[in-house]
Symmetry: C2
Subunit: 486 residues, 2 copies
């Protein structure tokens, strides 16, 4: 299927959207969805639909989609479940071919809901409507300034595609992802997947130019065989990371009441993921962070990792975690050692890991040592821990009060941009990835914000940099394995 003919292309790039269920109450779901769309600067036309209100959020409202005088590309439906069939009939009559159904109360609530869901599927077939949901939390396409969720998206458009059976994992995490520098290319909350399912998402995201890696949250599959085939194809050229939840008794029970999914044991899924070339995440944090690293850094050619830090604990944690996660931390070549030695303090360790110990020369870690290390032919990738300038300077400034002279924090902050940009350039020059970790979050540390800006992942734990790197090495193996097969 060509990407332009995939229904998701149309859903994610509409010229006009009708919001069925928005009103003027700022705490109802449909209203907040419409608010977020307006707030995001969506360029298309917006039509609120409300049985009584003459205007909704300052925009002229219509009592039915049938009354909208212009064509409508997409209907966003957020009304009680029992009202959805009539809305589908209205959409059919109006000639609306795409819908996002956020209403809940279908298959996930039992027999009556299941019947209602079958009814809307039947109506969709009758009227030629493709829809996502029901029981979903909307979709996002930052490149089209489309945000049909209840939370604001403030990141620059990114290159991580996400399809999720949990709406929370698409929407409630937006602030979380923002702080961690993670941006969506497209994100899809697919809910009960009564029509559009994970296979459709995978096909679309696989062909989508804006998407460089794909994250999947799965509670159960409708078409496992086709999913496997599609994933196997996509994973040859694009990294896929998946979190499957539902393989245990409690997970399966919870999943049934969440999206009505029928679950299989975790091992079945793990085996299928392996066959499909999908990297399996263990937690939702891994799912985002690994996919983000895969979407933004070069894939390492092999598993030989260099570690650069000024902290012995993290150096040891990273080295140890590397070995535990199938990565090597080889000694540097003599040439590399000779180049590093005169540049570092006498207390430093320069065998890989490089531990500068106490050092107040941030350029060493961002500018001077990384090219020397990446030049080493025995090194495939670099992990840097502990970059930090403004957060610590602010801390000292506050502690010092009038006791010492002024510390020009803003100026210091501005000085980091150049080196981080160069660092980012090195990853392309050497075609080797860099992943960072630091205990200071982006809201207090300009280096971390700048790393995010240049799409170098920076995690809040040293071991997280290692597991993300390990996922990248795994993808390197997957890609090589599939190219050997063909």
């Amino acid at each position: 299927m060509n990407k332009k003919t995939n229904p998701l292309h149309h859903m994610l790039n509409p010229d006009s959207v009708a919001f069925v269920g928005a009103n003027n109450q700022p705490t109802t779901m449909g209203t907040v969805q419409m608010l977020q769309t307006l707030n995001f600067g969506y360029k298309g036309r917006v039509y609120p639909v409300h049985p009584k209100e003459k205007s909704v959020l300052g925009i002229r409202a219509y009592s039915s989609v049938r009354d909208i005088p212009n064509p409508v590309d997409l209907a966003v439906i957020t009304v009680p479940a029992r009202a959805v069939p009539d809305i589908f009939r209205d959409c059919g009559a109006k000639g609306i071919h795409y819908a996002v159904v956020t209403s809940g109360g279908f298959r996930e609530v039992g027999e009556q809901g299941r019947k209602l869901e079958m009814q809307i599927v039947e109506l969709a077939h009758r009227y030629g409507i493709r829809f996502i949901g029901p029981n979903c939390l909307g979709i996002l396409n930052p490149h089209h300034r489309l945000n049909l969720t209840m939370f604001s998206y403030k990141q620059p458009p990114g290159n991580m595609g996400l399809a999720s059976q949990s709406g929370t994992y698409v929407t409630q995490v937006l602030k979380y992802l923002e702080k961690r520098g993670v941006g969506y290319s497209r994100a899809l909350s697919i809910g009960n997947k009564a029509d559009i399912d994970l296979v459709d998402c995978l096909e679309y995201l696989g062909e989508d130019d804006r998407t460089r890696a794909i994250a999947l949250y799965i509670e159960g599959l409708k078409r496992p065989r086709l999913f496997l085939e599609t994933a196997r194809k996509v994973s040859r050229t694009k990294p896929l990371v998946a979190l499957y939840v539902g393989g245990t008794e409690a997970g399966s029970r919870s999943s049934a009441s969440h999206t009505g999914a029928v679950c299989a044991p975790a091992k079945l899924y793990s085996d299928m993921f392996r066959q499909a070339g999908i990297i399996e995440a263990r937690t939702i944090e891994d799912l985002y962070q690994w996919t983000w690293a895969l979407a933004n850094q070069p894939i390492p050619h092999s598993n030989r990792i260099a570690v650069l830090t000024h902290s012995g604990g993290p150096a040891t944690s990273i080295a140890d975690a590397c070995n535990k996660n199938g990565l090597q931390v080889p000694r540097f070549s003599t040439k590399t050692l000779d180049a590093i030695k005169p540049l570092v303090p006498p207390t430093a360790s320069i065998e890989n890991p490089v531990d500068l110990t106490f050092s107040t020369e941030p350029p060493l870690m961002t500018k001077i040592l990384p090219p020397i290390i990446l030049e080493d032919p025995n090194i495939d990738a670099l992990i840097i821990h502990g970059l930090m300038v403004t957060s610590w300077m602010s801390d000292i400034k506050e502690a010092a009060g009038d006791l010492i002279g002024d510390i020009p924090i803003e100026q210091i902050g501005q000085m980091v941009k150049g080196p981080i940009k160069e660092l980012s350039g090195l990853t392309r020059k050497y075609d080797k990835p860099i992943i960072c970790s630091s205990f200071v979050d982006s809201d207090i540390e300009v280096i971390v914000r700048t790393l995010h800006q240049f799409r170098i992942p920076a995690y809040d734990g040293p071991e997280k940099a290692v597991t993300a790197m390990s996922a990248m090495v795994r993808y390197s193996d997957i890609r090589e394995g599939s190219s050997n097969q063909t």
Copy 2:
């Protein structure tokens, strides 16, 4: 050893401190240590020692500790390694019995450093000096307003004791821990442990009334047999969590250059931890978070967990992770189900997990449902995911601009305090722990800040609540096992 006679008691509660190595340069280590001490509101006397300066940071300086006219309880030594022996002689002459040696350049840098370290050990014996370090990053006792590190401590004094062979894991993480609501009772960066070692720390923290759970970061042990014996004793009454790093080839090599530790395979340590009743953490994040939960929440009587959320994805993730981590998610009793049913929206699932689906009634999750759930005799503990009010309201307010009326965010924020206080009271009333997770960080969400204030852990990932709960259940087993033996 009685806690008053443990040298750490004296180091952590000095009436006067000499800073040997502080000057007026705000970026040198000794100066920042002194700044942080002053800034923390330390009540004792402070004596800078500097060969030339007449005053340091506005306080009269002495050219040697010998010249200080009053008694000195503790010397903080931050001078080049080769100068440390003379400082020890001066301390000996002055009658200073305790020192914190942050200077690096000893055993961790090779043969010459090893000799220097032996020399200061010998001098310490000769003069009756007990010291921590060298190559450490200082110690903290918030209850005495003592902070001998380079980073500020802003949390209220806590009840997690930490002893670490990595100074970074004591000091550079202070902002990280602050944001996560974690407070120290005492924290010890022990460096090369040339004198005070982990056994001393364990003895001290084991007897310390302010410490309710102990976190240990270990790269290698000096006295493994005594450590095991001591840990076995302490773990009967106080939870111990340890992270051992150094069991792999790369970890061991890194560790040798970090603290000069000699490492053993990970499996040996895991076995010893099990024998000693120590819970083994896998990452530094686990080490803090598990210990914090153990220090602040009641220990569960068994492994039957209730899950309460408004998000199906996290509900399923938590339920699945529970089963994978040895926890049960049992169905509620009929009485509990009957009590919950009339209170929740029709789309909610009420079999454990309770998933309220979209709900704008925060009191349901904080106030109304928790006592009903904790009352159930089949439930030992509760995990709540997704508490969030002000961050989302601010988000909507910003998106809405003038389109809707004002949202009184501050007022809404104030309303959460009462219910969270009650929630905290429930853990005591029922003697059952509550652990939360939420994707909004404390800096943007008042509920998360309030949870921290009442010492209910709130993590940024649903699976993290589960692994912490699992650690608590493990401690319940450890305690029971050891009481059966005695």
